[in-house]
Subunit: 431 residues, 2 copies
Amino acid sequence: MQILRAKDEGFEAKFRKLVNSRRDSDPGVARDVAGIIAEVRARGDKALVDYSMRFDDHRLAPDGGDGWSISLDECKAAYDALETDLRDALELAASRIRAYHEAQLPTDRDYRDDAGIRLGARWNAVEAAGLYVPGGRAAYPSSLLMNAIPAKVAGVERIAVVTPTRKGESNPLVLAAAHIAGVDEIWRIGGAHAVAALAYGTNTIRPVDVVTGPGNAWVAEAKRQLYGVVGIDMVAGPSEILVIADGQNDPDWIAADLLSQAEHDPSSQSILITDDEEFAMQVGDCIDLQCAQLSTAKTARASIDAHGAMIIVDDLNDAVPLANRLAAEHVELAVADPEPLFGRIKHAGSVFLGRMTPEAVGDYVAGPNHVLPTGRRARFSSGLSVLDFMKRTSFIEVGDAGLGAIGPAAAALAHAEGLPAHARSIEERLK
Amino acid sequence: MQILRAKDEGFEAKFRKLVNSRRDSDPGVARDVAGIIAEVRARGDKALVDYSMRFDDHRLAPDGGDGWSISLDECKAAYDALETDLRDALELAASRIRAYHEAQLPTDRDYRDDAGIRLGARWNAVEAAGLYVPGGRAAYPSSLLMNAIPAKVAGVERIAVVTPTRKGESNPLVLAAAHIAGVDEIWRIGGAHAVAALAYGTNTIRPVDVVTGPGNAWVAEAKRQLYGVVGIDMVAGPSEILVIADGQNDPDWIAADLLSQAEHDPSSQSILITDDEEFAMQVGDCIDLQCAQLSTAKTARASIDAHGAMIIVDDLNDAVPLANRLAAEHVELAVADPEPLFGRIKHAGSVFLGRMTPEAVGDYVAGPNHVLPTGRRARFSSGLSVLDFMKRTSFIEVGDAGLGAIGPAAAALAHAEGLPAHARSIEERLK
């Protein structure tokens, strides 16, 4: 884990390198994905049958029958078979996520201004949303809840999940979460071809309007390439956490927080900023000790060694501009009074306030969405919300008097821009 | 102009073709743009110097000096030199756009729920926005206002405009609009290379966080490819209008409305849906008559002939599902009482209500943004707003009691997802 000291010469260059390091680029992926999308567009279901066999060792019947979907009854059965504590935990998570997102619902506007002109905007849900749920190790029921519940709250009529089922195996927790969230369809496909199928539709799978959800580099690239054909939530990259902590924390806690991102993926990034170098060394020791006990040790170790960093500053106030430049997905403020620091954090996906708010609690049950911008994208984008499943239609009603008041100015500008039909559509009405 | 009758056999197939027709795809553009972006990334200013000479016949000094920028003093001078009526028109437009967009500013949330857990979200503006303003025929001061004012209202600190100045020539109206809107920088570059410069930055031009604004197919493709490196407003395509009109309208007015989109570009699309075929024929005649008088006749004629359509329905209520499938950028409801139709329109960029609201009034002075989703993207996206220049940071403060209440559920889910460090970060704190 590299250590940067703010007072050392060369700190700025080292920090800039940290800020600009990309952990997710691979030009080969873009080419592969473009090919896969073209195949799905051209061959539809046939391409899905081929790719599912090749990538997931899963057979889809050529006629769109056997192997394609998981029924809602199977989801109900998975839910009923859950141990009580897990079922209660999923239900608690779902209800808290629902409550937080219901408060995000936007309000319409409809008013008349001083000129008597009626103006406003109305929000509507998209008709259909496709949710990507990764298979294998990253098949997280929490992600299904975090994507499906905002769509449901937004009022989306049709929610279609795609998830790869390697050798036909599905994850009962994911199916139970699908039951709780109330999804409408579950398709046993994954990868870039699943995203393409959702975007363009095939004989078996109807197209959707928005595709959201996490995925590997191929899935992320497919969403990026299909943006515009469908709406997408964001371009997601490897997870990251920035912990800003003073020396009064239990180093064991902070080590666990850093490891909780590191265990996601070797390309995850965990950074600690502290004003206490001795504390930082203790955290480093705790990381080593904990790592030895984790079933995810190999992944966590690789992430910490390749991308982890500790930054020693003179004063924790100096951490804020660094945090704003990093614009991290998750920012923990592990201090007694986090408010002054929080007030100056402008760029972050989500902020976790105080010593008793480990980031992991936000992954599951706190309520806010855990789908957050990564790779410095918190500079310009936000976590997933109901707004990702809605869109706004503005409207204007000018009327006779209103057109008399503002029409001539519009016509003058239209003439100045060399658009005579624009001007005429107003002038004819003013006659 | 093709005519489709809803009661004719084969209508559904013809209408579906209209819905699915793409007017903006060209695979060669994507390849060219990828090459240009790579050049700008690798060679920075030098690439801009080369491309500006090649595409715009405009010389940029290699040292970032002469030819690169237009000063704010030049913008002020252009404003001062404007004819009074144009200056007043621009000021009226700016003040109405400002008022509409100020009301869009989102409110932060900060509350404690029943479990005593503090939750919320804070909105911040992006630090820097880049606005693309086309050169040549499509150099519209109205577009500058529609992009810059929402950014300014959002609180963006640095607004950088890029605009190609062919042979060094700039548009005084655009400069005057820049003065009114209060932009901070104007760079004399355009095309895909200008978008790449804004996204990655060069020695002369600092990078921005969001790029918005209209442009040709190369500019649109550059924005699409750079999405994720920067935020973008949307993938814009050719303009379009859908007019739903009964037979009680003046056919001359409706013809002008249809032509006002057609005159933008040969790939623009104008569609009329009416329940009165005789009226449709009159509109067609008026289009022919007006076209002969327009300075933009060649463009308008090409658009009408290639993409224009009239759809005859039995009842105007039947127009609504067709409108929702078309999800047009602009929808006019030219009827005496537009409200019942409007209430059922779910997918549209902007709706213009009643006989006295020509779309063109919304292009300039009504207040709502004229940057709207095209190519059926109103199914999932919205017009430009202050939200495009802002982002939301969620936050969580759990505390001792809160962690006791929801921590165990989070830890249970973390274990179930195979993420032991997540669980440990909670369990250590619960001890």
